[in-house]
Amino acid sequence: MISDKERQIIDSLANKEYREALAIEHVNTTLAIQIRMMREKHQWKQSDLAAHLGKHQETVSQWENPDYGRHSMTTLKALATAFDVALLVKFIPFSELVQDMVNLSEIRLSPPSFGEEQYLTSTSVAVTSNLTEDVIVIDANNPSLVSTLNISDKTKTRKEPVLA
């Protein structure tokens, strides 16, 4: 069932200028958040990541600013290597964009590194701090209704990647 939020976004996509800008902004915002979340998960300071990539701390700060929006492919590839995650860049229909926009989560924004995935595959249990964190989701229609999701439970139900 489609949510009100999804319906509102889909309706607004009729305007070409709007949908183009929305897609670009979604990329800019999520990239900035992902870079920061993954850096913090590794417990690196901006200066640590900068040194690792041969950049200035101020450059990393820019990458983590949702208003920046000028990440290059070269930078993204280098960041993927630094965080030991895969980088996937592809063209998608707007319907898929909407799905991505409304289904953000900590685990999707800060994906496990290869090493974390290997551990998960070998144990079938999520143990890293991010993956076992409780998520409290507030029901907008009734704030007293609070659902708590345990990300580790969700993780267990996902089809886990098979690593060579």
Partner: protein, 132 residues
């Protein structure tokens, strides 16, 4: 602990969603950028918002929270507060920042007046944010 909270819009005594009305008056690309930022913020931990250009204001706007979005040379400011209920965020007034001043100049006073209105009638003076 991750807490993701819903965003609401202030509605005036005539039932008009003044936040949506303001957003709809903005340049299309700016509106898209503001909408996208709100969609994202609503899905990340509330305690993390400050890392992404969300600031607790001081001075005559003490305690108000500004979502700051830059587009071209415009510094957009969406002011809200954590409330009226626990784990809710309500947008109160929107404008821009120019030369370290919020425009319109009465944004702070207007925001506090609207907080009082929303707190007095939590169900009647706010509505779930309209995302587009």
């Amino acid at each position: 602990m991750v807490v993701v909270i819903p965003i609401f819009d202030y509605i005036d005594k005539d039932g008009i969603n003044v936040i949506r009305a303001w957003l709809d008056q903005q340049e299309t690309k700016a509106k898209a950028k503001l909408d996208a930022r709100l969609i994202t913020l609503e899905q990340i931990n509330r305690t993390e918002w400050a890392k992404y250009n969300v600031e607790v204001l001081k001075g005559d706007k003490d305690g108000l929270i500004a979502i700051k979005v830059s587009y071209r040379r415009n510094q957009y400011r969406l002011i809200g507060y954590d409330g009226p209920n626990r784990w809710e965020f309500t947008l109160l007034v929107c404008g821009k920042e120019q030369n370290n001043k919020y425009i319109p100049l009465n944004m702070g006073r207007q925001a506090f007046e609207r907080i009082a209105e929303v707190n007095a009638n939590p169900t009647g003076r706010k509505i779930r944010h309209d995302f587009g």
